[in-house]
Symmetry: C2
Subunit: 298 residues, 2 copies
C-alpha cells in the first residue's frame, strides 16, 4: 500500500517559537517529492518532531535542507527544555515503509551524514542500524552529556563523531543520524506534579534498568506541570502500547498515583492502535482486515 | 474515500454447511458491481453474516440473487441455532457509506422488498429507517416468535407483512429488509457455561431493559460451550465498544464470572477501533489523522 517509501522523523530543539518551527518545516515542504505528514511541538520539551515521507533521495535532500535552516535559526547556547539533546537538530532517523529495506535507509543516513559535515561543518554521529560500533547503537548513550558536555565527550575514547572533527559546532552542537524500524514516541502523564515519581516509574518500565524489552523511558515535567513518563517503544509489534501503559499504571499506583492520560507524539502505525483495542476488548481473534475502511481500499 | 457506496449485510440462517454458504455468497460474487468484503459464519448461531458493497443498484441486485439462492437451499423447518431468525434470510440491511444518504438506502430496501415478494413469493417486513410504523422499527420486535411463530404472528393486528400475503413461505419463512446506519455486531464470551448468567448480563446492558443506549443484547451459548452475550451496537459513535465491554465485565463480575474474550462479527468502522484504543490508553487527544497509513493515503 505504501510502496517503496522512506519516512524521516527529525527531532529539532525548538518547541516554542512558532516562526522558527515553520521556517524549518518549510525547508522540507519546498523540497520536491517530500511530503510533510505531521509536525508536533512540545513546549516543555522545547522540541518538535517533524514527520515526512517520500522516495529515499527526495527525503534525504529534504533532511539536508531542514538541517541547514535549523543550524541557522536555533542556538543551543540559549536552549532550555525537559528533553535531552545534543544539537539544534538532535536526531534524524530514516525509517523504511512498506517494501523498503532497512539497508536503503542505512545508505541514506551515511550519505546524509557525509553531506552535513561537508556543507555545514556540523559533526555527525551515526546510530541504530547505521551505527559503526556496538556502543553507539543506542540514542541515549550518544546523547549522554548532552550539548553542554559534548566538547569533552567528543575527545573521549570511542566518542569521536563518524563524520567531522571532534569539536562541536559552536551553536548547533552535533547531530545524530541513523536508520531504524518505526518506533512509537509515547508520553504518559501522571496525576502528580512530583517528577521523582515519573523518574522512578521510568526506571521500572525501561529495558535498560530491568523493565520491558524495546522500551526507553525517562521522567520529566510536562507543560501542564504534571509528572510525565516520556517513552520510546522501539518495536511495538513485540512490546505493545497497552502493555507499556498497563505497567506504567501499576508502577505509578505503587506511589499512590493514577495515570492522567497518555499521548502519541507524531504518527503511529495502525497495528499499534488495533493492538490496544484488542487488549482492552480481549478481542484475541481480531484482524485488521475486519476494518471496513481497509476492506474498501483493497 | 468511499464515494457514494452502499453496504449490504444480509444474515442468512446457515452457519454450518460450507457448500450452502459458498453457493449463497457466490450469487453475490456473480453480480457485476457488487464486492464481497467479508463472510463470517457462526456454527452455534447456525448463521452467516455476509458483507458486500457497491453502487446502490448493483448491491440491490446482488441482494435479490442472494435471497433466491438462500430460499432454494435453506429450509427453516430443519433449522436449529442459538440465534433467533424469521427466515432462510433473516435480515437484509442496507447501510449508507461515505456520502450516501440514508434515504437512498430506504428506497433500495422498499424496491427490493417489492421484488422479493413479486419473484419469490416470500413475505417481507420493512424495518429500521425503512419501517412503515413505529412498532416495526426494532428488529427484535419483528423477530419475536421467530420462524416457528410466524404464521400466527402475521395474522395479528399490526403484524401483516409490508409486502406479500400474511402467510409465511413454507420453508423460507419471511425476510426483514431495511436501511440503517452502520452497526457493530459484537459477541462477548463469559468464563462460564451457565447461559443464565449471559442472559442476566444481557438484560443489564441493553437499552430495552434499562442498560446502555443504542445497545441490543441477548444471552446465548457459544460454539465453545461458553455463555455468550451477543450484542448489536446501533450507534458506536455514541455508545463505544469499550463502554459496552466494561459494563458487561462489571455485570458478569457480580456473578463471580470473568470475560473470556470478545469478537467483532463482520466488519467494524476504524473509528470504533480507535475509540477502544483511546479508552484503554486514556489517550484523550488522539486523532485518527495520527495513524501513519491514513496520512500516507491522503
Amino acid at each position: 500500500m505504501v510502496g517503496r517509501l522512506v519516512e524521516c522523523v527529525p527531532n529539532i530543539s525548538e518547541g516554542r517559537r512558532r516562526d522558527v518551527i515553520d521556517a524549518v518545516v518549510g525547508a522540507v515542504r519546498l523540497t520536491p517529492g517530500a511530503r510533510v505528514l505531521n509536525v508536533q511541538s512540545d513546549e516543555s520539551h522545547n522540541r518538535s518532531v517533524i514527520t515526512f515521507a517520500g522516495e529515499g533521495e527526495a527525503v534525504a535532500q529534504a533532511a539536508l535542507a531542514l538541517v541547514e535552516r535549523a543550524v541557522e535559526l536555533i542556538d543551543l547556547r540559549d536552549h532550555r527544555g525537559e528533553h535531552p539533546r545534543v544539537g539544534a537538530v538532535d536526531v534524524i532517523p530514516f525509517v523504511p515503509l512498506g517494501e523498503t529495506a532497512i539497508e536503503e535507509c542505512v545508505g541514506l543516513a551515511r550519505r546524509l551524514g557525509e553531506q552535513i559535515w561537508a556543507t555545514l561543518r556540523l559533526p555527525v554521529y551515526l546510530y541504530a542500524a547505521a551505527a559503526a560500533a556496538a556502543h553507539r547503537v543506542r540514542l541515549p548513550d550518544i546523547r549522554k552529556g548532552e550539548f553542554e558536555g559534548l566538547a569533552e565527550k567528543m575527545l573521549q575514547d570511542g566518542w569521536a563523531p563518524d563524520f567531522g572533527d571532534p569539536h562541536p559546532h559552536p551553536s548547533a552542537g552535533a547531530v545524530v543520524v541513523g536508520a531504524r524500524y518505526p518506533l512509537i514516541a509515547y508520553n504518559i502523564n501522571l496525576q502528580t506534579t512530583d517528577v521523582m515519581i515519573a523518574r522512578a516509574v521510568a526506571r521500572a518500565v525501561r529495558e535498560s534498568s530491568g523493565g520491558l524489552a524495546h522500551v526507553q523511558a525517562m521522567g520529566v515535567t510536562a507543560a501542564s506541570g504534571l509528572a510525565q513518563v516520556t517513552i520510546n517503544i522501539l518495536d511495538a509489534s513485540k512490546t505493545p502500547m497497552a502493555r507499556v501503559f498497563d505497567l506504567v499504571r501499576v508502577e505509578a499506583n505503587r506511589h499512590g498515583v493514577e495515570v492522567a492520560e497518555s499521548e502519541v507524539v507524531g504518527l503511529v502505525p495502525l497495528d499499534a492502535i488495533v493492538d490496544a483495542a484488542r487488549a482492552h476488548l480481549r478481542m484475541h481473534g481480531f484482524d485488521r482486515g475486519q476494518i471496513l475502511e481497509f476492506r474498501l481500499l483493497e
